[in-house]
């Protein structure tokens, strides 16, 4: 069965997702078990795929038994395996976490089995986008992940969630259609849809205007999905109003996969040689957008009073880092980007999980509301703090490693002016997280201020009332992983290096 792993990775979650509403008729918890176990299986398969790649190199699987480019090829190399592990792990953590979270954020019992179905379809679409080697197949899977994503966002309790989902749907569909149009141009010029075959046939057309147009439409389409500044408008409201578990999993996986597809298109379908033929300097455009995203995201995050929206804007900034590494076009930069993919998945996952736990206990998510929570919810808030520190890029966290690589890559390619920008945005990040950490650990809870004037001996110790274990464990595990990969960075760095070397050979 090892041979069939690339197919099983997608087919198992797909079929379980389809069965979930049926078994959910007995009791909704059964659908939770189904989804948790399935995402775990996907995680194990991803690990096995990485192991297989390290033994035998690139894996190619022929769907329906047709040799590429005639049939659809599924291919796995270090890059795919790396992203697969991130996506499937975060989906698994999200599945465990969701059980209690949807009690308060979705409530309605009849919706729960369908929530799990769509959650799993979302994961299936994302995993498929990562593992497929056919550019039209990416489009179909992108639409599955997107449709599922729109529906998940619309589940948010406030009515603004519906408007956010609608706007995301409109922008997302425009993006996907641009992608489809670009693929059409590629097909018209080359006659093939297989990514490996495209890479072989494209160079002779690099000079043509049609191929540049194809590139432009594909990249703009993906940029909408990735929410690269200035195409990020859908993101803050979507993440802000969706149920917490949805925000967490989307921020941790959806954007990562869009970034992966962008990397694939820029470096596997096209090659760095293409960028010397373009009428504009693509590298500079990307660098400018990345810098703008980093700064605008950080500044907008400062202005927010709602934590979820703050985290959403901070995502815009973090996506800027990923784009920065992609645009630098050297191995170190690509490594920085890839490590930042992992890094941001873990940090944002942990942060949104922690916010979800707060919502579970208090029902509110404004920054004011967090006062004194450090004593009430020590584990959750510890996880939040670790992730926030990693976000600012303090040494010993994984956030430091990715920023380090990005800074080194900027100097390597002679763009030293990027280093102060990275530093500045780290400071801004520290500022907007300090507001929260200050509230959490140093300020008393809203009801306790009056006691401060009384005698110290009368003050009772605050009872710890942390979120349920099924929420705390995934939150804390993901946060601790930020530290683990910060201290023992060898594993992600070595995989990222191998992936970057393949891309930029």
């Amino acid at each position: 069965m090892i041979k069939h792993l690339p197919a099983l990775l997608i087919v198992i979650p797909l079929l379980v997702a389809i069965i979930t509403p049926i078994i959910g008729r007995l009791h909704w918890v059964l659908s939770w078990y189904a989804v948790t176990i399935t995402t775990f299986i996907s995680f194990v398969i991803s690990l096995l795929l990485l192991q297989t790649v390290s033994v035998q190199g690139r894996i190619s699987y022929w769907m329906s038994g047709w040799e590429p480019p005639f049939g659809i090829e599924y291919s796995v190399d270090y890059l795919n395996a790396y992203v697969l592990i991130i996506v499937s792990f975060m989906a698994f953590a999200g599945a465990i976490y969701s059980r209690k979270n949807i009690d308060v954020e979705i409530e309605d019992e009849t919706r729960k089995p369908l929530f799990y179905t769509i959650y799993l379809l979302f994961v299936t679409g994302l995993l498929g986008m990562v593992v497929t080697g056919d550019i039209f197949n990416i489009y179909v899977l992108l639409e599955i992940a997107s449709l599922a994503g729109y529906a998940l966002i619309a589940l948010g309790k406030k009515r603004q969630a519906l408007v956010a989902a609608y706007n995301y749907l409109v922008m997302g569909t425009v993006g996907a259609t641009f992608f489809l149009l670009g693929v059409g141009y590629l097909y018209l010029m080359t006659g093939t849809l297989n990514i490996a075959d495209l890479a072989v046939r494209l160079p002779e057309f690099y000079e043509t205007k049609a191929i540049f147009t194809a590139f432009a439409f594909i990249v703009v389409g993906l940029s909408i999905k990735l929410a690269i500044f200035p195409l990020h408008f859908w993101l803050p409201n979507s993440y802000g109003y969706a149920p917490s578990v949805v925000s967490a999993v989307m921020a941790a996986t959806g954007a990562k996969v869009a970034a992966y597809v962008l990397i694939r298109v820029m470096y596997s379908v096209f090659t760095p040689a293409f960028f010397t033929h373009t009428p504009f300097n693509i590298q500079y455009i990307f660098l400018l957008l990345a810098v703008a995203a980093i700064l605008v995201g950080s500044i907008m995050a400062l202005a927010q009073t709602d934590i979820k929206k703050m985290l959403a804007y901070s995502s815009v900034g973090q996506i800027g880092y990923i784009v920065l590494g992609i645009a630098l076009m050297n191995v170190t930069g690509m490594m920085g980007s890839l490590i930042h993919l992992l890094n941001h998945a873990l940090m944002k996952g942990a942060l949104f999980f922690a916010v979800g736990a707060v919502v579970y206990r208090t029902g509110l998510c404004s920054i004011e509301n967090l006062r004194g929570l450090g004593k009430k919810m020590p584990w959750t808030m510890a996880a939040f703090t670790i992730a926030a520190l990693s976000m600012t890029g303090i040494p010993l966290t994984v956030g430091f490693i990715s920023k380090w690589y990005l800074a080194v890559a900027s100097i390597e390619s002679g763009m030293w002016w990027l280093v102060p920008i990275i530093l500045l945005s780290s400071i801004l990040t520290a500022v907007y997280f300090w507001r929260i950490l200050d509230n959490v650990w140093l300020k008393p809870a809203p009801g306790e201020e009056s006691h401060e004037h009384g005698h110290d001996s009368h003050q009772k110790p605050v009872k710890s009332n942390d979120a349920p274990l099924s929420m705390v464990i995934p939150t804390f595990t993901v946060a601790v992983l930020c530290l683990v990969f910060g201290l023992f960075a060898y594993a992600p760095v070595s995989i990222a290096e191998k992936a970057a070397l393949i891309l930029l050979k």
């Binding site: 069939h4 087919v11 329906s64 659809i72 619309a154 406030k158 018209l188 006659g191 205007k209 049609a210």
Partner: protein, 346 residues
């Protein structure tokens, strides 16, 4: 001259759709637009695509738009001033497109890459030998690129599930939302800015008493369903396939419930059974792939299903087409049932 007439008519319709003030007219023009598009594709020999567009664009989409329109306010009140940022973006996109078109190859030329690169000639040569299909479109759809089609069916199922989740379960009585404390404050606001919620769409709930309609419908439905089944299984020989057939089957139930009322239709096809069917179709499709895995082939490699590879392919393709048909029909009915049920509970 017809070479130009239909495309020009398309352009006129496309622009009119967005210029017309009245939403109802806009939807009707869109329906005509879809139909013209189908005719244009027929003229371009893309028969399968044309049938699908006629069924989906001109048929299902229009019905869906009308149902939703009936449930909301019906006049497009937006002032028609020019939106400058939108115009600028549109002009930029048009400029890039024009730039890219300059060195695109001429259409209708047999020597352009899609026709000469190995892929398409391979399909044309091997369609019958390897898959037993005379209609090459069906061979590619269900076998050469069968994995795409599995996910195409999944997209339809995803839409079906989303619809059920968002409409059915979220369909509480207006007062029920108050206890969360979130929506209560919104209660007054629509009226305060001068919006009057208008008539719903009661017609679809009651049965139609017109004897002519009832008799004609009763007489027609078996034929429509037979035609749907025919389209599903006929895909190997000529245009048609699971998707188109599924739409036709779904429409037969929709017509039934339009004429005989929703309650009556529910007795023929209960909501629970229909929900089950949405899953069943994808399961059939995916299941055939899994059987192929156990018989030693790759996923969805039908040729291993039976000793004779060509016959096995025909059987496999037939199986997945039926799977597609079931899911598509069930989702088409879902579109209708769920949008109508909201009224029923109001």
């Amino acid at each position: 001259m017809t070479d130009l007439a239909i495309p020009l008519f398309l352009v006129v319709c496309g622009i009119a759709v967005l210029l017309v003030k009245d939403l109802m007219s806009s939807i009707m023009i869109f329906s005509v637009y879809s139909l013209m598009m189908a005719i244009e594709w027929c003229r371009l020999n893309a028969v399968d695509v044309a049938i699908t567009e006629a069924a989906v664009g001109a048929g299902i989409s229009t019905v869906l738009f009308l149902v939703i329109l009936g449930r909301t306010k019906s006049v497009d009140e937006g002032k028609k001033h020019i939106n400058l940022p939108a115009l600028l973006i549109t002009v930029a996109v048009a400029a890039v497109l024009l730039y890219g078109t300059i060195d695109l190859p001429h259409l209708r030329d047999a020597s352009i890459a899609p026709n000469t690169h190995v892929v398409t000639p391979y399909y044309l040569e091997n369609s019958y030998e390897q898959t037993g299909q005379i209609n090459v479109v069906a061979a590619i759809l269900a076998y050469f690129r069968g994995f795409d089609t599995l996910f195409e069916t999944t997209v339809v199922a995803t839409a079906g599930f989303s619809l059920i989740m968002l409409l059915r379960a979220g369909n509480k009585k207006p007062g029920a939302l108050d206890k969360t404390g979130v929506t209560a404050i919104y209660k007054k606001t629509p009226a305060s800015i001068g919006v009057k919620p208008t008539a719903t769409f009661p017609a679809v709930l009651d049965q139609d008493k017109d004897i002519v309609k009832r008799t004609v419908t009763k007489f027609l439905i078996p034929f429509i369903q037979l035609f749907g089944l025919y389209v599903i299984v006929h895909g190997e020989l000529g245009p048609g396939g699971g998707f188109q057939g599924g739409v036709v089957l779904g429409v037969s139930i929709i017509i039934y419930s339009l004429v005989f009322g929703f309650e009556e239709a529910k007795q023929r096809l209960s909501v629970r059974t229909k929900d089950l069917l949405v899953s069943t179709g994808v399961l059939v499709y995916g299941g055939i792939g899994v059987i192929a895995l156990f018989l030693g082939g790759n996923y969805l490699q039908y040729s291993v299903l039976l000793p004779d590879p060509q016959f096995a392919s025909i059987v496999g393709i037939m199986g997945v087409e039926i799977g597609v048909g079931i899911t598509v029909a069930a989702v088409m009915i879902t579109l209708f049932y769920e949008t109508v049920r909201i009224d029923a509970n109001d």
